[in-house]
């Protein structure tokens, strides 16, 4: 009775006889449990696998081999080639998305009729399923009857079956799909630049280009950088588009990883490669985040 009396008799928790702590735990414990079972445990388990010779397809125990998997992978020219292809893909795709996305945002950052409708329509690609986008664009890039070859007058140009062309084709598809994301973040950044700064710049006799370079760009930079972080991370581990579109002829790291893990069932080696990818992505992201924090300090 003494304890009950201390609780606010009117609060819902007291009426149901649940304390705040109980409610908090009721929400948090399932979440933590899910996280541990599906994220943390596999992460640690796969770290263990990465130091072993193990095949998930065979009923044989894992054999500890130390750093052998990592040594093999890092001295394998094929893996380096995969990383180079991935880097090319990231640069083309993310670079394209930043240019197209920011450019669209600049065009949209003014008042004109049907602005809301046009903005929503432009956002559609990013709301589609990756698999659907991949399948449709495979049709668009088709060498014999694809509309792209027809429109560009390229005859029977082989896009998706040729590794280099496929890299471009998949990157362009990715640009189409994800530029809206960059556009959305850029628009948020652009509309946050106060109008009076542009008036001040006009009074200060700054031209259009000077205003863009010295006012717009620095003030939008933090949001552009966030877009860049997200898109780089995503592009680095891109899998769905090249898998669906190019029948694995674009050998990004993620595709190789998939082949290693689920086609050759080389589980130990695949785990090690997954960790290498993780470390690379974390490193790149960290560079961006450091730069972002420096921008934020101002």
């Amino acid at each position: 009775m003494a304890v009950l009396a201390k609780l606010d008799a009117g609060s819902p928790a007291a009426r149901r006889g649940w304390s705040d702590l109980t409610i908090r735990n009721a929400f948090i414990i399932p979440t933590i449990a899910f996280l541990i079972i599906f994220n943390i445990f596999p992460l640690i388990y796969s770290l263990g696998f990465s130091f072993t010779e193990y095949r998930a397809s065979l009923n044989r125990p894992a054999v500890f081999v130390g750093l052998a998997n990592y040594r093999d992978l890092l001295s394998d020219p094929d893996i380096w080639r995969n990383f180079t292809i991935t880097a090319k893909y990231v640069i083309i795709s993310v670079g394209g998305q930043m240019l197209v996305g920011f450019g669209l945002a600049l065009l949209l950052n003014r008042t004109f009729p049907f602005k809301g409708l046009i903005t929503t329509l432009l956002l559609l690609p990013m709301m589609l399923s990756m698999a659907v986008v991949g399948l449709f664009w495979r049709l668009l890039w088709d060498p014999s009857w694809g509309p792209i070859n027809y429109a560009l007058g390229l005859g029977k140009f082989e896009w998706l079956s040729h590794p280099t062309n496929a890299l471009f084709a998949v990157a362009i598809t990715d640009i189409w799909m994800w530029s809206p994301f960059v556009m959305l973040l850029s628009l948020a950044g652009l509309s946050a630049v106060p109008q009076h700064l542009y008036e001040a710049a006009a009074i200060d006799r700054a031209g259009t280009w000077y205003t863009f370079r010295r006012i717009t760009l620095p003030l939008v930079a933090p949001l552009l950088l966030i877009a860049l972080i997200f898109r780089t991370m995503e592009a680095f581990k891109t899998f769905d588009l090249p898998f669906i579109m190019s029948a694995q002829s674009v050998e990004t790291v993620a595709i190789t990883l998939y082949q290693m893990a689920f086609q050759s069932w080389d589980t130990g080696r695949a785990s090690a490669l997954a960790y290498i990818v993780l470390i690379v992505v974390v490193c790149i992201t960290n560079i961006y985040v450091k730069y972002l924090n420096r921008l934020r300090e101002r």
Binding site: H196, I203, R205, G207, R214, P218
Partner: protein, 369 residues
């Protein structure tokens, strides 16, 4: 060396007539203050002169050349914003240097000019700081520095110290005046604060609902307001304004107020002057500032007996409410002259400080007694 002229300027925002046939000449090196309530069109006029707002009709001339079709950047006019509008990502130095860099000045030249402006404004030790690290007053100094640094044709200021606290406002007011005397550039300053206007201006331009009401020196607008709006807008406390009727009694004129037979003695020529000015009975208002209501604690000839109401002691003087013929009239008295509400005192209106207006049109009859 700039002369600004507005000729028949008109501006509408939809159905709202923001600027109505504005004609004004601002001489070289003059400090002109646009005074009015918010929404009277003063800021819009200022922005139109700067090129931040287009006008629907009329001409804006800088040194005799029409500029209304030029962009803000091509008019070479500096503007100080109420919100300061400093570039948040640039240091104070870079903010001040911005217009010079935009105009591609040489690096050494920029350095020299920024330093010399910073010295005038006493912000040399703040130059490496970003706006977020500056106080309101310092931000405004930087904003003024940015306007001064390129030696513009004219300086326009939109309530530049409106966002500061009272004490700082007084300080900056003095500083702006000092700066204008030193630099001597044509300046237009917008404010709704009549004290600021009176203390800064060579000439005050009073606007109301898009229409120019009166242009004149601070003394002129205070001593000879052109209409009831100006009379009541300028001066604090507000000028007393009561319906009046004029009669004669003996050799003196009598001005009655409040319609209750309470009359004040005025010089004999009042009647003639009023009829010469075309005053109509029933369309006459008497305006008198609180200092024009004279009070005596004892009965004196020409004074009438009244009852004191609320007293506002202001230190240097008191403001006393007097009930006269059903109207409330406020008088300015030496501190402590009236000890409390309900006290009987004797009052008269100083004819020299009395203003007569047409009630309907609000126009001053321009009678000087």
């Amino acid at each position: 060396m700039t002369h600004i002229e507005l000729r028949g300027v008109e501006k509408h925002f939809g159905a709202l007539h923001v600027i109505n046939d504005m004609n004004l000449v601002i001489e070289d090196n003059e400090f002109v203050v646009f005074l009015g309530q918010s929404g009277c069109g003063k800021t819009t006029t200022l922005r139109a002169i700067a090129g931040l707002e287009t006008i629907d009709e009329g001409d804006i001339l800088l040194d005799g050349k029409p500029v209304q079709h030029l962009k803000a950047a091509d008019r070479d006019i500096a503007f100080v914003f109420q919100s300061f509008s400093l570039y948040p990502h640039l240091t104070a130095f870079e903010n001040i240097a911005f217009p010079l860099k935009a105009m591609r000045f040489a690096r050494a030249d920029i350095e020299e000019r920024v330093r010399s402006v910073a010295k005038i404004l006493q912000i040399t030790d703040l130059l490496e700081k970003r706006p977020s690290a500056l106080s309101g007053g310092d931000m405004q100094r930087v904003a003024i520095g940015r306007a001064l640094v390129r030696q513009p044709k004219a300086m326009l200021m939109d309530e530049p110290i409106g966002a500061l606290d009272a004490k700082l406002r007084e300080e900056m007011r003095a500083e702006i005046k000092r700066l204008h005397i030193k630099q001597g550039s044509t300046t237009i300053y917008v404010t709704h604060d009549q004290v600021e206007a009176m203390s800064l201006a060579d000439r005050i331009v009073i606007m109301h609902e898009g229409i120019l009401q009166q242009v004149g020196t601070p003394e002129e607008v205070y001593q000879r307001p052109a209409n009831i709006f100006v009379a009541q807008f300028v001066g604090s406390p507000v000028m007393n304004m009561v319906a009046a009727d004029v009669g004669e009694k003996g050799k003196k004129a009598r001005v009655g107020i409040g319609g209750n037979g309470v009359t004040f003695e005025f010089p004999a020529e009042t009647t003639n002057k009023l009829s010469a000015a075309g005053a109509q009975p029933g369309d006459l208002s008497l305006g008198v500032r609180p200092e024009g209501v004279l009070i005596s604690p004892t009965a004196e000839p020409g004074y009438i007996e009244v009852t004191a109401g609320i007293i506002e002691p202001l230190g240097s003087h008191d403001i006393v409410d007097l009930e006269i013929g059903g109207d409330m009239i406020r008088a300015r008295t030496p501190s402590g002259l009236v000890s409390g509400p309900g006290q009987q005192v004797w009052a008269r209106i100083d004819p020299v400080q009395a203003h007569f207006f047409e009630t309907g049109s609000g126009r001053s009859l321009e009678i000087a007694l």
